[in-house]
Amino acid sequence: MVLPARADGIVTLGAPRLVLRDISRQYGTLQALDRASFTVAPGEVHALLGENGAGKSTLMKIAFGLERADAGTIMLDGAPITLRSPKDAMRAGIGMVQQHFALVDAMTVTENVALGSEGRLDLAETDTLIRRIADDAGLPLDPAAVVGELPLGARQRLEIVKALARKAQILILDEPTAVLSPTESRELLSWTRRFAERGGTVILIAHKLREILGVADGITVLRRGRTVLETRAHDTSEDEIAQAMLGSAGVADGRHTNRRVAMAYDAAPILELRDVAADDERGVERLHGATLSIRAGEIVGVAAIEGAGQFELLRLLAGRITPTRGTATLPERIGFVPEDRLRDAVVLDATLLENLALRSAGQRQGLMPWNSLRQAAIVLMRVRDVRAADPAAPMRGLSGGNQQKFVIGRELDGNPPALVVENPTRGLDIRATQDVRNALRAARDDGTAVVVYSSDLDEVLALADRIVVVAGGAVREVPHDRDVVGRAMLGA
């Protein structure tokens, strides 16, 4: 194999290493990929960029044999190749490090590498192999360490070493810096450069623009399942990439129609955060210096890319977690519609009646007032148009849309001063989506302070009177403008 020569800081590229051509993939009614294309050369660090749900991960899962394409061809070193499983891909020299590591915490580094390799198990040999690869590649790793005790950066190095031990020449890293500290991110990215200089190929799935531009040679941008930009890093700018990622498509669904900014500014603040910091479940700080005030009768939209700290911001505002620093002034009762409905909002094996009773179950004393709750459930089902036989029907039998309408109705029951909502229409059909959005607007009009986060920027724009962006754990308010919001999300 001819190594690409580097001259004057410009990478000279040979024939393409891996080509994905006209790849399409459909999930149900969702067209995840629509004739997407992707080309990467040997000796290249290539960034694959796009908004949440643009199809980046799906495309790379197809390149790694985890998913099958409905249509399209994959070419490796100029010859077509069929990838039925990750095993096929690994045999062809393609390795992938998923966002969620596939490691066994209780095992050592050596055992994890040995796991999944074929033939006789020789731990001593694996040990030597790891040391050699780790030294060669400059990825410090102790073969005897137990994975569960390693920091995330080291676990990621282990995943890479695992791929290299299987002789990967093309390495796909899915959002590799999402779990890393800034120092670890820098180390990882500079490692990718070294790997590429030695003839390897790295594909980085990413959405943090700035850090990617510093390291990538080639850039491909996906939007809504289509390839919209293929370019060299030194031929482009942050602006051009951001434009490609966000598109200039008009914003549908009444962006300005029923905004009521004027009223909101006179109203009293309901939810207030002052210089607040918060940790995630593992104790890593995800949010810092957040100051935010949300008034009665307004919808504040929260826009952010994955893992920017919005999860913690929403739970802070909903009173579900407490700040590690700063002060949060919140009302007694706050309605909360979490993103993972089936996990956090409903009990599938319980009846609608019991699911309604779940609200404030933590504070209730004495006996359950089943009769009045039954009346309330009947009213809720009628007002919120929840299609079910009666309050004794099990939640499991309801469609997703009806479940979500029920949850929003429950959380809004009795007009709480505030409502915090996370991805309210994910997975719902158009009709249910409209119902849910109308319910949120109606709550706002009734004087509730509403906070909505959606991973779909268009939904944030459609619902919000004001918009705040969470990026890298910092919160700031931005004008109601798609381009501005999009850039702020990407940290630009």
Binding site: A361, G362, W370, R396
Partner: protein, 378 residues
């Protein structure tokens, strides 16, 4: 109203079905191992139901510890606590009750019996506290810790009846007899059935009411059905509810042990329990974890056990064969549960739930698939 009637009739039908299945399996086993089927089953029937005094002194007497431990299992499982340790908690309760009963002066009278039962409750709860802390502090699965603690409890009892609690002649591995004044009074004169049975009945009805009607019982059920939603949507302190469920479960089993020594054996033996705490799992599952239905399933298993003794005595059929039958019944019940859940899922799909994306599907199976054996709430 129709649903009410169906709700009452269904558990009864299931009990009947389970009992029929048990007899059918037993008949097949008997025929297969060369025992006279008719004669053996006749002995079983005779030992369980032949007269009112047999029912009271046999079936219902055997059903009593099964009901206590069955309730212990049911209440724990409803809270999502898989307590397999009713056996050990029962033994600890029996030991503590014996120790107290042997220590109180005769002047205490009936008050001494109350003290002994209280000691049983505390000891059972305390024994369940160990797996509770292990789970809540260190994430140790209670399925494993409770089973292991059963062995510890069994050996602890063995130690007690050969050491500090051994009878005065120091010959037999058992405690001295509990004084007359502390023994539980007979419920029906002329039979061996004691007031402990009435106590178990009251507890079953009370727990049924507790789960259905009180806020605390509702929290327990919701925590068991989906702890994430209970914490997030219900703002329920899930750890606290879990801790309470461990304690209540252990207390019930411990009380069962205390009742057994003060009502039946009047002394502590190493083999006091022929596995009541394990049969309790069958009792609770057959009752679909409903405390009131557990009365019926405890009686079914009590009859099987009483009948098994008679069958061994009169037809020389090993009592262990009934153990095989019990296990078969549990397996068939679990299988029917699984098939039922599958059918329910299919009908809900047919009702036009929109197709979900693949990743979502995979994510969302987990919280509810975690407790497949739990029945829908009444």
């Amino acid at each position: 109203m129709l649903t009410m009637a169906r709700r009452m009739v269904r558990p009864l039908l299931e009990l009947l079905l389970a009992a029929t299945l048990a007899v059918a399996v037993l008949a097949a086993l008997l025929a297969g191992s060369g025992y006279p089927v008719g004669h053996s089953l006749g002995a079983l029937w005779h030992g369980a139901f032949s007269s009112s005094s047999v029912i009271a002194s046999g079936t219902l007497l055997r059903a009593t510890p099964l009901l206590f431990t069955g309730l212990a299992v049911a209440i724990a499982f409803r809270a999502g606590v898989l307590n397999i340790g009713a056996e050990g908690q029962l033994l600890l309760g029996a030991s503590a009750a014996t120790a107290v009963a042997l220590a109180v002066p005769p002047t205490f009278g009936a008050g001494g019996a109350v003290l002994a039962l209280t000691a049983g409750i505390i000891a059972g709860a305390g024994w369940a506290l160990i797996p509770a802390i292990l789970r809540l502090r260190f994430g140790v699965l209670e399925v494993i810790s409770t089973i292991m603690l059963n062995s510890v409890a069994l050996n602890l009892t063995g130690l007690l009846v050969r050491g500090p609690l051994q009878e005065t002649t120091r010959t037999f591995p058992q405690s001295a007899l509990i004084q007359q004044a502390l023994r539980l009074p007979r419920l029906i004169p002329g039979t061996r059935l004691h007031v402990g049975f009435a106590l178990a009945l009251l507890l079953a009805l009370g727990l049924g009411w507790y789960l259905r009607s009180t806020a605390s019982g509702f929290r327990l059920r919701m925590t068991g059905a989906n702890p994430h939603a209970a914490a997030s949507a219900g703002e329920i302190d899930v750890r606290r509810v879990t801790m309470m469920a461990f304690i209540a479960s252990g207390a019930l089993a411990g009380l069962g042990g205390a009742v057994e020594v003060t009502g039946v054996t009047y002394a502590l033996y190493e083999n006091l329990s022929p596995g009541y705490g394990y049969t309790a799992l069958a009792v609770a599952l057959l009752a679909r974890l409903n405390p009131v239905s557990a009365i019926g399933s405890a009686v079914v298993f009590g009859a099987l056990e009483a009948g098994a003794s008679a069958m061994q005595r009169d037809a020389q059929v090993p009592a262990g064969m009934v153990g095989v039958v019990e296990a078969c019944v549990i397996l068939m019940l679990l299988a029917s549960e699984w098939v039922g859940a599958r059918l329910a899922q299919r009908t809900s799909l047919n009702r036009g739930a929109p197709p979900r994306r693949m990743e979502e599907d995979a994510d969302h199976q987990s919280p509810n698939a975690a407790t497949p054996a739990l029945p829908p709430t009444p």
